[in-house]
Symmetry: T
Subunit: 148 residues, 12 copies
Amino acid sequence: MIVHVINGPNLNMLSKRDPTVYGTVGYGELVNEIQSWCEAERIKVNFFQSNHEGEIIDYMQKIPVKDGIVINPGAFAHYSYALRDALEIFKGLKVEVHISNIFRREEFRSHSVTAPVCDGVISGLGVHGYILAIQFITSKVFDKGKEP
Amino acid sequence: MIVHVINGPNLNMLSKRDPTVYGTVGYGELVNEIQSWCEAERIKVNFFQSNHEGEIIDYMQKIPVKDGIVINPGAFAHYSYALRDALEIFKGLKVEVHISNIFRREEFRSHSVTAPVCDGVISGLGVHGYILAIQFITSKVFDKGKEP
Amino acid sequence: MIVHVINGPNLNMLSKRDPTVYGTVGYGELVNEIQSWCEAERIKVNFFQSNHEGEIIDYMQKIPVKDGIVINPGAFAHYSYALRDALEIFKGLKVEVHISNIFRREEFRSHSVTAPVCDGVISGLGVHGYILAIQFITSKVFDKGKEP
Amino acid sequence: MIVHVINGPNLNMLSKRDPTVYGTVGYGELVNEIQSWCEAERIKVNFFQSNHEGEIIDYMQKIPVKDGIVINPGAFAHYSYALRDALEIFKGLKVEVHISNIFRREEFRSHSVTAPVCDGVISGLGVHGYILAIQFITSKVFDKGKEP
Amino acid sequence: MIVHVINGPNLNMLSKRDPTVYGTVGYGELVNEIQSWCEAERIKVNFFQSNHEGEIIDYMQKIPVKDGIVINPGAFAHYSYALRDALEIFKGLKVEVHISNIFRREEFRSHSVTAPVCDGVISGLGVHGYILAIQFITSKVFDKGKEP
Amino acid sequence: MIVHVINGPNLNMLSKRDPTVYGTVGYGELVNEIQSWCEAERIKVNFFQSNHEGEIIDYMQKIPVKDGIVINPGAFAHYSYALRDALEIFKGLKVEVHISNIFRREEFRSHSVTAPVCDGVISGLGVHGYILAIQFITSKVFDKGKEP
Amino acid sequence: MIVHVINGPNLNMLSKRDPTVYGTVGYGELVNEIQSWCEAERIKVNFFQSNHEGEIIDYMQKIPVKDGIVINPGAFAHYSYALRDALEIFKGLKVEVHISNIFRREEFRSHSVTAPVCDGVISGLGVHGYILAIQFITSKVFDKGKEP
Amino acid sequence: MIVHVINGPNLNMLSKRDPTVYGTVGYGELVNEIQSWCEAERIKVNFFQSNHEGEIIDYMQKIPVKDGIVINPGAFAHYSYALRDALEIFKGLKVEVHISNIFRREEFRSHSVTAPVCDGVISGLGVHGYILAIQFITSKVFDKGKEP
Amino acid sequence: MIVHVINGPNLNMLSKRDPTVYGTVGYGELVNEIQSWCEAERIKVNFFQSNHEGEIIDYMQKIPVKDGIVINPGAFAHYSYALRDALEIFKGLKVEVHISNIFRREEFRSHSVTAPVCDGVISGLGVHGYILAIQFITSKVFDKGKEP
Amino acid sequence: MIVHVINGPNLNMLSKRDPTVYGTVGYGELVNEIQSWCEAERIKVNFFQSNHEGEIIDYMQKIPVKDGIVINPGAFAHYSYALRDALEIFKGLKVEVHISNIFRREEFRSHSVTAPVCDGVISGLGVHGYILAIQFITSKVFDKGKEP
Amino acid sequence: MIVHVINGPNLNMLSKRDPTVYGTVGYGELVNEIQSWCEAERIKVNFFQSNHEGEIIDYMQKIPVKDGIVINPGAFAHYSYALRDALEIFKGLKVEVHISNIFRREEFRSHSVTAPVCDGVISGLGVHGYILAIQFITSKVFDKGKEP
Amino acid sequence: MIVHVINGPNLNMLSKRDPTVYGTVGYGELVNEIQSWCEAERIKVNFFQSNHEGEIIDYMQKIPVKDGIVINPGAFAHYSYALRDALEIFKGLKVEVHISNIFRREEFRSHSVTAPVCDGVISGLGVHGYILAIQFITSKVFDKGKEP
């Protein structure tokens, strides 16, 4: 069982974005922090980042249902119904993560078209959000399966 | 330092709600699970539930800034600007939690007026959501202070 | 089996409101008329009025499912999603009543957030509306159970 | 004095509609139940059903003001401003009835253009709704005239 | 060449409507006044009134292009796209008339779906409006053909 | 008694506008045609045109209530609430005229903020519209006073 | 088994409408072309056209469920919820057809209230659309029953 | 005659709010300043603050009509139709006050549901606003009764 | 230091407007009352009224920052972004005043485009509103400078 | 002459989607069925599927005008204005196909930004839709060229 | 051939506006810079600034079609349909210029009612915008006439 | 220092688009004209065109801040928030260019999601627009740095 950490467009530029919104951690560090934590927890994790909607969909279509998905769709969250469909097709555990609190920024960011087809959403908890999502998926907390 | 777990209206009726949306855990069990986890992690936690908007505001106004708030505003999330103001006045760490994924239910539930003044939002991760929020606040993950 | 007649905010001031909209009957008379009718029909009825959203929710959470609810939410009908949730949790028979015809007044009054979770709505039939609702619930008309 | 029970389009097909929404009573039975009840109460009642907006308006224009109208406009409730005008012109007692609770179905059904010109609305009480409306109009309950 | 004066639903009830909006003239008098004026002006005029959308469309489909239409669609103006299509198909001169000023009444009356396919609109000039429309069509004023 | 024919911005450029919309008559000819017709009918008429909202309001404030106003507000119809107020203050007869049919052009032209405070509106009847409006005001048709 | 080809208001005037939108085929020819094709394919077909909403509903209520419906509701598509209900009640195969592409015309035409209760929609394929719809219904293509 | 100065939710936390919006005066000082001014002017004043919508309504229902109300509803201004009804029932002089200019803040703050049922609104004049409102009510300025 | 009392379009016609909305005081009296009060308080005051948006802007551009502005923009409040910009450029104290309560009249009056760039707004307090605004600006109440 | 059958994102996952919406046919079978039918009809057909908006546009830009396009844009139908432009540039015959009836699913699916620039739309007829679209394009039915 | 550089309301106050939005150049300097550049390029240029909508329209109506217009409508861009009409009537080359980027400021500034009737728009390029617009009009770049 | 001229989807098909909107210049000529002009001005310029949103983002992420961007996002302007984010991350000078005037075309084209994060926008000036944007960026006009 693998957790796939998928990052959408411009998240590879994390350190170039507004630090009051995104913090100062770069994409490499983000990967490293999550990787370290997962190794400590003996969780297999795969990273994928792309600025191409199609590549993310291609990637997601190949993930087996026993795996889990932690996805930060970046700006795709606000309009990519194609990504939404790909997420809906995937029947395993899936959590949407946003580094910043999308509800306190520009109006268009407060609406996610992908959120309704994920199991849940974590927004505004910075890099922590990814790790908390992995915790949820790997049932580290209660050792339970998927519940509502 | 104490984490205040505040639950809004009707969350004391958890076990009476639609189990496909809310699971089968009752409010008492929810408190117990969180309590147990916090004890194991040596985190001080306080529980407060009320169906009265005013009581929640009264309670929140007395919390010192060094504490943290994990709040599930229930339906107040969708219209209580008074609660929003109370949350905005509190300058400590605060995370909004919803047991169900509010983005896949009735239209009115997908809009939270309190979310923009919290640090972050966790929605749809069931009872886990509370514990993940406490983790974030108590910095169990990275031992860091509040970051964007 | 008891029918609970619940009145929301400002309905205790009935005789002070615009008589062309609300008629001239005061809250006391309203209670008396319903009480008399119920006694004649040997129906047990309980009255509850409050200007506090939380008190109404508290009250409703204790009603057993075999009882019935006749509720005039007053202005709460237009925004109290917390009351809506409390109504939704109650699985017995429940009818929303408005003394005035809410569809011919200010725009905001024509939308009720509680109506969708009740069995039905009676609006504009004055004090009669309460009694007709009780009739429905007590199945005086056809001696049938709840039907769509 | 006669109560006119007017049913709009497709209500003659009642037994063919979704039983979880409309129950299992057909139009014939509906007429019979109301007829029986009215006979027992010595109320004169007239039934009229049509799928033609114009026929309903023609019919309504001939009703004398001393009579009463119980109308289930069916889908006309959602767009027929012509029917609304005909109802507005009629100055006697008039109550709009819907078998199902129109506020918990498709969005378009929650808005009635005819409701604002009726005295009141009963929605979601099934066949009972008609009889309760007749009760209101014939003042069986309090033996009073029209009040707000 | 004939001018067809078409009146939509409820205009046959003119004298029963609110006199502060519609004046005190009844439908019969309206016809008479227009008839008299037309006779004096030696204009052939035909009257048609119906509460049936379909009958008005049937009638209009038979009018030859050399004739003119003065139509008061009544409430059909606000939703009957079928009537709009029938008007659009007729290529002769056509003027929409409303007795009352539809822009100072209920919101829904200020929008006419038929107005865009007529040559022009006269609203609020009472019975005069019909005669002014006939004047326009019969070119009594300047003896000119149709101009923009 | 004088009829004031007031033309708003750009109507002095009539002959420069799209002839398929406005016809080929220039402002001078428009004035002449109306003048001639009024002379024949022995009606006193005054013309005023301005591109300045303030000048039109100044002019209108001086008109005595016994006079009448025929106003083509041009584009002011779509936003000048100041002009609307000036029209509302004038208690005499007043008719809004548009040369083109404003309901079949750009969306913004189909809404007039001045129409609700006039007695009536004539739109799309070209230069005729002015004369028909004067007829209405001077009661040439039925020799009656202002009626609804 | 019969396919009922139902045409709504103004489709009997097909040859009078804008040829760049509707082509040059008249209603008679349309019927003939479909008739010929059906005869060749040994499909029983019935034609019905009316400008009356009520007549179409009356007609549809009598169609047995084993038959199929090809309906061009004309302008009724944009507002007739009564027709929608009649279509919803019919449980057999039903396809909505529009001769023109309703998505490239006036805004109001791009929304069909009847489409959601049909099995499918064909728009913009001219007279072909009817025949393709019949093909679908009669399963000439794959000889299969109704599939999603 | 007493002026009731009612403050809604979170106004007891005034000194904790954004000083660029609310200034630096705390609730206690606010009360003191108004009290001092009133004493100097020999005006009887009563203070009431609550975070509970129901308590404010309870309080207001007991105020006699000869008294006056100066109310800062805080966030209740944006959604509490129950408070609006309570204000509408009170027939004495009543002025809504906001310390900050609610029209230059978040979009939701620019809409007050209580303002339409007050005599007037003062917004953005800080603590002065309360005193100016009291002046208005006590007719210090012109010694006149209530005028439009 | 001078307070400039600026009145927009139609306020010179005050006594001609609906007395139930505007009271019976005319513009001349309004000026006199304010003048008298200011003389008593030894405040220098300048009056300016115009129906011309441009003249008001011209006037305002010449006011030195040490002066104050009390402006009743009349109907310009609802659309004149040019006036808004002129107000925004002026950096001194400025208060918007409306004689009537703009929140209880036509929908369009409840939105002011100029209010967000003023320090505050007084609405519905009649002629008093001007004097209270002058009080605020001249710091008669607390002898303080501009505060939030 | 070739017909290009283009399928957008996630249509390669057809068999993984909700069978009550999409049926049970997989993408491979869909291609085979169409291929077989086309071979029988001696129609040259080319298949292209991609999850990449850019690849579909690249592909479409190379299609000669004498060919035809049958496109199921999948979720791109709801937002890809780039695809719309590519379709608009192609001047040959083009039909948009949706397997499911997009008008009876989520609100966002009922709006297609690509439909207005296609000749027509077929929605809800399952796999048949593709073949019917090919029929239309290849003029198998009437052997005619493109008509409205 | 002359280029008319027209500036709307408050642009004469350029140096008084927010320098982070408008820069530090005043209106006089703006005129000088453009004048100098035009002299160097031997372009005849005329400057006109007014806070009066009517004056700008008057001025524009006299410009011969061979001239060109560079217009910064200031706030008139957001509501002056009268100015739009005046621009539409002018058939020569015309470019709308905004000093600031109107798309990144208040919502109301992102919509220009005059832009659709100009040849093009330049926004956000500061004083350069005017000169670039003059370049376009005088065809300095490619020495071509007006092209789409 | 290099200016990057980036063209989005379908701009490589320029000569195939509607010449009344886009002119007759093809993409190759467009590149050549800009290239020639830049060579004459000794400006280094790079061209990039793609129909792939992801490729444009990839390309833009590599541009150093000292360079400048002239981007015609084509249809991506109307929905690609991913492109918007990429533009926002780039801190150098950037101008959005549209060949046609996007404000006089289909409604959806008048809204650009990328415009708010560019320095400015040039729309409707055809191929000139690109060169004027390069002029702005290279400070040929005034030899100044970036100003508001």
